[in-house]
Symmetry: C2
Subunit: 390 residues, 2 copies
């Protein structure tokens, strides 16, 4: 297989390194081109700044998009598919927006569009989900999809430091970007959850406007301390449920009892689980990011193409509809003000520094939390585990 890598950042370098590895396992793979930015120095013979030269190479089989962001990634992916090249990417932002367009372009041009690395990095999550769907309806997906936010929460809880202190350290270590908003505000999780829901329900979400998203920017050391005293850990969770042709999807800080796998997912690890009719609960744990694990997933997709191991075919034609009040939970709300008025339609009581709101749907809760934030921009909320109703 002849490969072109677009972009030579973390993922691009990792793919190059794995393909070059001398262990004999990837000897059938060959990197022919690496696209770098205009005016950057070509430090490797494979490097070029011409996308056209790459796409017009008749011997090229696979394009690995590793530029990131929306444009020109979107344009290059489409263009490569139209040139009848298979495309593989780890770029969750562009997939969440354009999965349907890419899938159709791939189908129309007789090539593959694979994206295992986009969700859960090195974890074989997309494959695990697609495999489960061959037999089961998947009733729920829940996971720690973002390593950076998990690292921050884990460090805060281990060291008692503030959010801003830990964030600064994460940035110094390269675990968080200079603009960390995608990671800490739940955007990255929302993208990965969208992709997972698209696959699980055979739909095309694309527009995430309806998705209730709440990040961890406002969490304080004393919040974490309070949860710990209650025997709970907090995690930034993406979750989706399906019941009778309705689904929801939610990104929010969620509390877990200390004996759960979620509570014990450390550092920048990811943990993603699905629940199916016959398979029950299945959890995948591993490196959700990082150069080699992510690149491993990209190379796995290349090998699937080489070995003609076709992934699930989607037509996005399911009749499943979004429902903002499919599931209900208890929530803890922390604000410097008394906000109980806002939740007057619900049973509420004070619990430590928090207001506990009982059995409210995620859609409603996130709406009302926007009201809280409008006069207390530092307010925080977290959901409690859904109780199993008999």
């Amino acid at each position: 297989m002849n490969i072109a890598i677009l972009g030579f950042g973390t993922v691009g370098k990792g793919v190059y390194e794995i393909v070059k590895k001398a262990n004999g396992k990837t000897e059938s793979l060959h990197v022919d081109h690496i696209l770098i930015r205009k005016n950057k120095e070509c430090i490797l013979p494979e490097m070029t700044d011409s996308i056209d030269d790459i796409l017009n190479d008749k011997d090229l089989d696979v394009v690995v998009e590793a530029i990131g962001g929306i444009e020109p990634a979107h344009e290059y992916i489409l263009s490569a598919l139209k040139h009848k090249k298979h495309v593989i990417t780890a770029n969750k932002a562009v997939i969440a927006l354009y999965l349907k367009e890419f899938t159709e372009a791939a189908r129309d041009n007789g090539v593959k569009f694979y994206f295992e690395a986009s969700v859960g990095g090195g974890i074989p999550w997309i494959q695990g989900l697609e495999k489960a769907l061959r037999i089961d309806q998947v009733n729920s997906i829940e996971g720690i999809f973002n390593g950076t936010s998990n690292f921050i929460l884990d460090q805060m809880s281990k060291r008692g430091q503030s959010f801003s202190e830990v964030l600064k350290e994460a940035q110094k270590l390269g675990y968080a970007e200079a603009d960390p908003s995608a990671d800490i505000d739940g955007i990255d999780v929302a993208n990965k959850l969208s992709i997972s829901a698209d696959i699980a329900y055979n739909i095309d979400i694309a527009d995430q406007d309806k998705m209730p998203i709440f990040g961890i920017r406002n969490i304080s050391a004393s919040d974490i301390d309070y949860f710990a005293k209650k025997g709970m850990s907090i995690k930034l969770i993406g979750k989706t449920h399906q019941r009778e042709n309705k689904f929801d999807y939610i990104v929010e800080p969620t509390l877990f009892q200390s004996h759960t796998l979620e509570a014990n997912t450390p550092d920048n690890y990811n943990l993603i689980s699905l629940n199916g009719d016959t398979i029950g609960k299945l959890d995948f744990f591993g490196q959700g990011a990082g150069m080699l694990p992510t690149a491993n997933a990209v190379v796995q997709d290349i090998l699937d193409i080489k070995e003609a191991k076709d992934h699930l075919v989607r037509d996005f034609d399911s009749k499943v509809e979004y429902c903002s009040n499919l599931t209900k939970s208890d929530y803890l709300v922390r604000s410097s003000y008394d906000v109980s008025d806002i939740f007057s339609d619900y049973k509420v009581y004070h619990e430590g520094d928090f207001l506990r709101v009982e059995q409210i749907s995620a859609g409603k809760m996130h709406d009302l939390m926007k009201e809280v934030l409008s006069f207390d921009s530092k307010a925080f909320m977290a959901s409690l585990p859904m109780e199993v109703v008999a």
Copy 2:
């Protein structure tokens, strides 16, 4: 695909149920025959007591061996392969012994022999391991491979009950068999570990005589209590390591700190992890047994055959050799007698009711423990997590 199910116990019934399910996902599958024992009543039209009638059915594609045990399972599997039928089984005991023979018979007859359900039940472990091996050398595998023993240890630790009390309850609930020795003495784990090592290292272990195996039969409520006070949980673990063409494999009670995934694997769940060069640590968690999860894995194998998704090809021809002292750990030994003499070549000291033996290889430790058991049949031992040596 036309399917014959040999045996109608838990796994056989589960496969029948999933194939019959009306969700449209398995409509291309059809159960034509169910082999039952001679003189048993045929309660379903598919039932027969003639293996010959089944194997001579020219339209039959796949035989699911769900009898269990060594014979006649071994004979039927070989016979089916020679009749050019694909064979799928969850029977770890027969695979651990005859994997090479089955693999060669399948190859010679141009059919497949798949066994995803044999290790980890519903967990896609074999597939995950085979996939990792496309790119990485797998340096270690470690896991909770046996749900029954995990249920017993979990219940003992949650309720403070004795081993025999919990075992009796597990038998009443159907979690443990009337003769529980395969589960509690580590035989079942040894079979699953053998199969995993065969795949990981491309070898044929078959003869498990060398494998150090120690079960949980002798564990007491006060052992568990002591470990808990030290912040540790005990699990029955199968583990194997590979370094520079040498490997070891060990089944033994192992202590884990309370914040690890292993310590937090509850009930009868399994947790299996691998460690690879580029993928890092990857963990799979799910239902390691049970009717529908195990049957799900069997049906996944049928679908892989239908979709021509070939599994890893093995020739068992690797030069990797067994080494009994590849890894060292500290061990805790509990005996009513002073057994420090037996360990006089090692640094030992008393720790609660235990003798702690420092940095001893698994092979040596299990040998010396046999001496201890020869005059104290109730003695117990557990290994401590290997320390990471810089």
